[in-house]
Structures are given as C-alpha cells and as structure tokens.
C-alpha cells in the first residue's frame, strides 16, 4: 500500500469536505466516503483550478454526447449528468490541474558544469601545496618569537595586543575603554552579521552596489589603517613614532 504524505492527505480531505459542502446540503451528514463530485458541480469559486479550465470542463459536460453511451455508475451513487460520458462510454473527468510552475518547473537556463575531479580537486591540491610550501619556507627562515619568561613585575614598553586587536588598542587611545573596547567593535560586528538583512539590493553587480561597496571599503580601510598604526607607528608609552626613526616595536 502506498503511503500518502500527511500534507497531501490533509489537502485531499479539505478538498473533499469543500466539495461535499458545495455539492449541496443534500448530504451534509453523510458518513460514507465523499461522493466524487462531477466536474460540473465543483464550485467555480474553487481557487485551486483556474476558472477558464473550469468553464471549459463545465461546457464539455453540458454538451450532448455525439453517441449515446450507457452512463457508467460513479462511486458514491451519484449519477453523472446526462451527456457526460465520452466516446466508448468512458467518463472523462478533470481530476486535477497542475498549474505550471508548481512541480514541473525546471531551470530554463542550462548551467555550464565541470567535474570536480580533476578540475576543482587539482586546483585545491595545488593551493594546499603552495600554502604548505610557503609556510614551510617561512618557518625555516623566520623563527616564531619566544621572549624571556613571563614576568608580572616587568611590563614591557610598549605592551601590545596581538596584531588583529591592535585596531582596538588604537581606539583605546582615543575613547573611553568601554566605547573603544566594547561599543564600537560590538556595533561593527553586529552590523557585519546583519549585512545580508540590511542590504536589500538584489543585484550582485558592482555597478549597482556602489553604496554597499564604498561602505565596506571604508570599514575595512578603517580597521586596516588602525591596525597598521597600532602595529608600526606606536612606540614606548604607545606614543606615535615613525618606524624608520624609532625602529619597530612589533612582534608577531
């Protein structure tokens, strides 16, 4: 036995109840399976079937049959309206109309696709190889810093956060810590997360997104510049220095 999906069963039941109610108050308390209402009796207000198709169905049902066939009894005992039997005595009924776009919608535009193997995997493999090679070479020639043992009594001057937080540390020189350390980055992060919901512009073309692109560029530049100032242009006491005069105060 075929299993009928829940939503389809419910929809069918609803349609049945509707048809039953429309088929007249004649059998409102009929417990037996709902009689299949002939097309002609389906209310025209049924929004599931386009009205022009309904009209066509009704018209066809009303036409006198060219050859008088014996009416075929319909389940539920309702006799079909006169003239509803088709050629060879078959009844033709409109069971359902599948509106275009409901299930048979396919992407009209063919997509140019290629195999992941070898094309994508090869590119990924090469990228992985390249980055490994780069890290390896860099690691061979540049050592990771390991300063002397941590000492709570000896504060280095300047004390700097990791580079990606130096933008925040830079803001600390300008604002109250709560503003610089929490409010500004908090708002920035919040806006970043919400970007797809704020930006309602459906276009992805750069020429249609001048505002979004400018805003993001300013945002990225803002942080990049702050990070660079914090990294390279801050010396003892976190005072502004030029690295070519005072030297670098920066450890990665």
């Amino acid at each position: 036995m075929t299993e009928i999906p829940e939503h389809l069963r419910k929809r069918a039941e609803a349609a049945k109840a509707k048809a039953q109610a429309a088929a007249g108050g004649t059998t409102p308390d009929d417990d037996s399976p709902a009689p299949d209402a002939p097309v002609g009796t389906v209310p025209s207000g049924d929004d599931k079937i386009p009205s022009h198709l309904l009209d066509r169905g009704t018209a066809a049902a009303d036409l006198p049959a060219p050859t008088a066939g014996t009416p075929v009894p319909v389940a539920g005992g309702l006799a079909p309206p006169a003239g509803s039997s088709g050629p060879d005595g078959h009844n033709q009924r409109l069971l359902t109309v599948v509106k275009s776009g409901s299930i048979q919608d396919t992407r009209a535009t063919p997509v140019d696709k290629i195999h992941v193997w070898p094309h994508l995997l090869l590119a990924e493999f090469l990228a992985a190889l390249a980055i490994t090679l780069f890290t390896l070479l860099f690691a061979i020639f540049v050592n990771a810093p390991l300063l002397e043992l941590a000492d709570f009594n000896k504060t280095p001057n300047p004390s700097k956060a990791p580079w990606y937080f130096l933008g925040l540390q830079e803001l600390l020189t300008m604002f109250h810590p709560m503003v610089a350390g929490v409010t500004i980055p908090g708002i920035g992060l919040f806006l970043l997360i919400l970007a797809p919901y704020i930006d309602k512009n459906p276009s992805r073309r750069p020429e249609d997104r001048k505002f979004a692109i400018s805003l993001m560029t300013i945002h990225l530049m803002f942080w990049s510049v702050l990070v660079m100032i914090g990294s390279f242009f801050r010396g003892p006491g976190f005072n502004f220095v030029f690295p070519w005069n005072a030297g670098l105060f920066f450890e990665l």
Binding site: I114, H115, A128, A150, G181, N201, R204
Partner: protein, 254 residues
C-alpha cells in the same frame, strides 16, 4: 625470467587482495580502487561519489566556480590552514604542559632538543597568522561579490561567527608560550574585555580563571585552544560547507 615470475606472482596477489572481502568492504562498489581508473566522465563522477570527499564536494560544479581569479581560493585555504594548524598543533601538544612553571621551558626544550620542534612551532605560528588573514580576506571577497545575498544570508552569518572563532583561537594560542609577549598581549586584550558593560568583571573572571592572569588562566586557555574552540569551529565549518552546497554552490559569476 625470474623477474617475470615475480611480477606475475605480485599481480596475482594484488588480484586476490582486490577480490577479498576485506578489500571490498573498505571500498564501495564503483570505487576506483576496486575497478581501476581510466579517464572517462563516468569515472570522474565515481571518484567523488565513492569517496569521503562526497561530503564536501558535489560531482560537478559550475565552471566558473573553479576560476581561481574569482575565489582566490581563500575559503579553501582557510580550511586547509585549519587542518595544517591541527596537525602541527597535535605535534606541539606532545611536548607542552600548560602550567606557569613548565610552559615556557617546555617550549624552550621543544625548540632546542626536539627534532623539527622549532620548525613545527614556527609553522604553527605563521599558519595561525595566515589563517586570520585568509579568513578576513575571504570575508572581504565574499562581500565584494555580493555573495551574502539570498539565499546565502545565513551562511554569511555563520561565516562571521567563524571569523570570530578564528580570532579567539589565535588569541587563546597567544598566551600559551608564557613569555613576556604572551603575558602582556593577553593582559592588554583581557583588560579590554573587562570593560564589557554590566557583566564585564564576570567575563574577565571567567576568562582568566581568577582576578589575575596565572597558571589557571593558562590551563583554561589551553583547553579552549586545543579542544573547545576547535570543536565548536568544526561544527560551524560543517554547517558552512553544507550550506554552500545547499544554497547552490558558490555564488555565480557577476
């Protein structure tokens, strides 16, 4: 002659191995390790369909999706750097004890007395900085392509979370060498967090495992760094990759 015999025996053996139940239980029907590989569209599909890569990649992608000039490989590189960091990190874990008394000297020993210790530590450090950079650039790339637009809004949100986890991973790792650089960088960073309104003091207390940075902080950040944050990150990564596929692959050409 003898060589012929030998290779004959070898090929016979490999045939037997490939016919064994053990072999066919490892490789799925259609796997190239069962039926050999010759280049054909069908076999190209089988390579993906019959390997674990099928979790990550579909059989086919849009042609423009493999253009390096579009993605610059940044997302993939971030992921690869994460794997790279996991591997080198596991190596480092063998030689490191997260206590204030031992951490620094363990690293000193690692660098001087362990084979490839210095090299692996260097690679771990540089790959970590690179990963922060590549995740950041990946985000910029996605923004400039408008790739966060429907249906990919939620994946953008996941991506921003991933950026934050990356920063947190890097930051928690920063303390572990327990040198002057680590201690004071983390002091500056956590002092900032202390200014979180309402529950700033509590946030700082939970993060430091006390009122001051100490050996408890080290253990806490170590656990965060090697276990908790990677665990959470991997879950978010899985969702991120799954959504890339469900949302129809990477965004189309502009």
């Amino acid at each position: 002659m003898a060589d012929d015999k030998k290779s004959g025996g070898l090929s016979q053996m490999s045939e037997q191995v490939q016919a064994s139940q053990a072999w066919s239980s490892i490789f799925r029907p259609g796997s190239i390790f069962r039926k050999g590989y010759s280049d054909s569209p069908r076999n190209r599909s089988y390579v993906i369909m019959n390997s674990v890569l099928y979790h990550l990649h579909p059989v086919k992608v849009k042609r423009h999706a493999v253009k390096v000039s579009y993605t610059l490989c940044l997302g993939g590189l971030s992921f690869f750097l994460f794997i790279h960091l996991t591997v080198t990190g596991i190596f480092l874990m063998f030689f490191y004890r997260p206590t204030a008394a031992q951490a620094w000297s363990d690293i000193q020993t690692l660098q001087t007395a362990v084979g490839f210790g210095l090299l692996v530590r260097n690679m771990h450090r540089w790959a970590a900085h690179l990963m922060v950079l590549s995740v950041f650039l990946h985000m910029a790339r996605v923004f400039y392509h408008g790739a966060y637009k429907p249906p990919r809004e939620f994946n953008w949100v996941i991506g921003v979370m991933l950026l934050q986890f990356t920063l947190l991973l890097s930051f928690t790792g920063y303390l572990l060498p327990w040198d002057q650089l680590a201690l004071w960088a983390v002091t500056v960073g956590t002092n900032m967090m202390g200014f979180t309104p309402v529950f700033g003091e509590q946030v700082r207390f939970v993060l430091l495992g006390g009122v001051e940075i100490g050996t408890d902080t080290l253990l806490r950040w170590y656990t965060l760094h090697v276990l908790m944050l990677p665990f959470v990150l991997v879950i978010f990564l899985a969702i991120h990759f799954w959504r890339v596929r469900k949302d129809g692959g990477i965004s189309g050409p502009l």
